[in-house]
């Protein structure tokens, strides 16, 4: 018979046993939740972010030569050629430096003058339906027109550029093979040295003195050269980074040393608790959308009436997409315009773009995070010098100066922030094209 003492003893043993089972269980659970273990949902997100999930860039029906390899080779030369500028010193590569993942390391870019915003990376850019921080262009070729004639970037004009192509035997041959005959630009009565509809007063008056047909023909050459540059840019895709190596192994169920434990923990935060993946989503770590993340605006130090700013023509604050989408829709070079090769039905992005201020005010294009180690400073004005400053911003999530910040405070610990940062450094890889196409041609 059991006396109370024995009962106590047995129950004590039972208690110990239960404790032991618990310990085993918890230990297992703790083991299973080790940061290198992923559940089904996490694995599907990892796969979504993996470079192996990156398809070929979507076709660009507005550019007939988008996937023409001769056009891309021609475009490569144009991209690096500094003759296409007012002083012969600026090419696309002046600001989009291949070694810096096609950025320049500056808060504001330096061409002939100083730009308003900073230079974004153009790796993988062909996957985007919109270009510039504010999305004011809807194709790569339309985008390229703008720095070429900007008085702070290349500073030249379309007439000058057409002559360069015409007078360079190699360029003239390439151009004509791809696009057909050039107008007779040797006729200097019809085609002056410099002329453009939006240049200085001189260039403008010479432009207006030309016949409409000649003006259209010159603009056509300008557009075609940009379409060739766009074909080149379409080749600028990333190769696999350490992150991709890790995911490739993980998806196969293999162990991988490609990432450190801190980086893995950071990746877990990126796709989980910190919710970075909601916008920095897909193999290029961008959803190509426009979002308001409360970027500080340097102008806010100068004025306390932000509210009034977006009613003005030249708003005091950078209103981002609010203005950009209207500029894109008004541009003669958009998908629906006469220089586009697309049918109207191919132009859904511009036709259905949201122009309401609630959706666009203070919203900027979500940049790719691939090669983020190489593209400091960060944000559209280079507001943040380092990644830890960026993460600090996300952690606090201040209200936006013009619109509404979509995010909420993250409240991550310093250790977690360091892990996130460590992870971001694992996204570096060289572009997936031959070295020949990554530097100026001989």
């Amino acid at each position: 018979m059991f006396n109370t003492r024995m009962i106590r003893l047995i129950s004590f043993h039972r208690y110990l046993y239960a404790l032991f089972v618990c310990w085993l269980l918890f230990n297992n659970v703790a083991y299973a939740a080790d940061s290198s273990e992923w559940d089904e949902v996490e694995l599907s997100i990892l796969k979504m972010q993996w470079i192996g999930s990156l398809p070929a860039p979507p076709p660009d029906p507005s550019n007939q030569v988008a996937d023409n390899i001769d056009a891309a080779r021609f475009g490569h030369k144009l991209f690096f050629d500094s003759r296409f500028s007012s002083g012969g010193k600026v090419s696309c590569a002046t600001c989009h430096v291949p070694e810096k993942s096609f950025t320049d390391g500056l808060a504001k870019a330096e061409g002939v003058g100083t730009t308003m915003r900073g230079t974004p990376s153009i790796i993988g850019v062909a996957h985007s339906p919109w270009f510039f921080w504010d999305g004011r262009s809807d194709s790569l070729w339309a985008q390229a027109l703008s720095p070429l004639e900007s008085d702070v970037e290349h500073g030249g004009n379309r007439m000058q550029y057409a002559h360069i192509i015409y007078n360079d035997a190699d360029y003239r041959k390439s151009y004509q093979n791809i696009f057909g005959p050039l107008p007779n630009l040797g006729d200097h009565d019809r085609f002056p040295k410099n002329a453009a509809p939006n240049g200085n007063a001189d260039a403008k008056s010479r432009w207006n003195a030309m016949t409409e047909t000649d003006r259209n023909d010159v603009t056509r050459v300008f557009v075609n050269m940009s379409k060739a540059i766009a074909a080149y840019e379409r080749l600028l895709m990333p190769s696999a980074s350490r992150f991709d190596e890790y995911v490739a192994a993980t998806l196969q169920g293999d162990n991988s040393n490609a990432l450190t434990n801190d980086e893995i923990a950071g990746l877990k935060l990126f796709i989980g608790k910190a919710m970075c993946v909601t916008c920095h989503q897909g193999p290029l770590f961008t959803n190509h959308g426009f979002h308001n993340v409360g970027a500080p605006d340097p102008a806010s130090k100068k004025s306390w009436i932000p509210f009034l700013s977006f009613f003005k023509d030249k708003p005091l604050f950078d209103v981002g997409r609010y203005k950009g989408v209207k500029e894109a829709q008004a541009s003669e070079f958009n998908c629906l315009g006469e220089y586009s090769d697309a049918n109207e039905s191919d132009c859904a992005e511009i036709k259905f773009a949201n122009t309401k201020y609630l959706a666009t005010l203070g919203a900027f294009k979500v940049p790719t995070l691939r090669n983020i180690s190489a593209t400091a400073p960060y944000f559209h004005f280079g507001q943040f010098a380092t990644l830890s400053e960026v993460l600090d911003h996300y952690n606090k999530t201040p209200e936006d100066v013009v619109g509404h910040n979509e995010l909420t405070e993250l409240k991550l610990s310093n250790n977690e922030l360091a892990q996130l940062e460590a992870f971001l450094h694992s996204l570096t890889s060289p572009p997936a094209i031959t070295a020949e196409l990554l530097s100026a041609p001989d």
């Binding site: 310990w23 659970v29 559940d39 949902v41 959308g289 859904a348 949201n354 959706a359 979509e406």
Partner: protein, 141 residues
């Protein structure tokens, strides 16, 4: 000797449970191609069919909206307008979709795009000569 980290274990259990819940809900709702709902003031029975299954992320695509009254009569010549967004993020749709009537109670909604993962709402405002009502669909992308 190994210390028994109760806090850690509890956290990890909670995390696993969380993941399980997320997994289950994501499985149940992920971007349904079709759904049916009754309008807010119970005037219409509305269903949609998206062009793709599941509803794609980041790709502009059309839906066909089908509208009947509660007796099952087709609702024709209605004016349909579209709104939506992500309430949790305080933003609307990345596009401004447009409706055109196809006939037979069907309305073509062009220009729909979901630009991020998470919970989206689509609102359709349906206006006939006599009735105005709206219907909401929720999608998990």
């Amino acid at each position: 000797m190994r210390r028994f980290k109760v806090g850690l274990v509890v956290k990890k259990c909670a995390f696993l449970l969380g993941c399980l819940i997320i997994a289950v809900t994501a499985y149940a709702e992920s971007g349904d191609q079709t759904a049916e709902a009754i309008s807010e003031e119970s005037h219409f029975r509305v269903s949609y069919k998206a062009q793709y299954d599941p509803v794609p992320l980041n790709q502009i695509h059309p839906w066909v909206l089908h509208v009947e009254d509660m007796e099952g009569n087709l609702v024709e010549k209605a004016v349909v307008t579209v709104d939506g967004g992500m309430p949790a993020h305080n933003h609307g749709l990345p596009t401004e979709p447009v409706a055109t009537e196809l006939g037979g109670g069907d309305y073509l909604i062009e220009g729909i795009k979901f630009s991020m993962t998470g919970s989206w709402e689509m609102w359709f405002y349906i206006q006939t000569e006599t009735i105005t009502d709206k219907v909401k669909f929720e999608l998990e992308m």
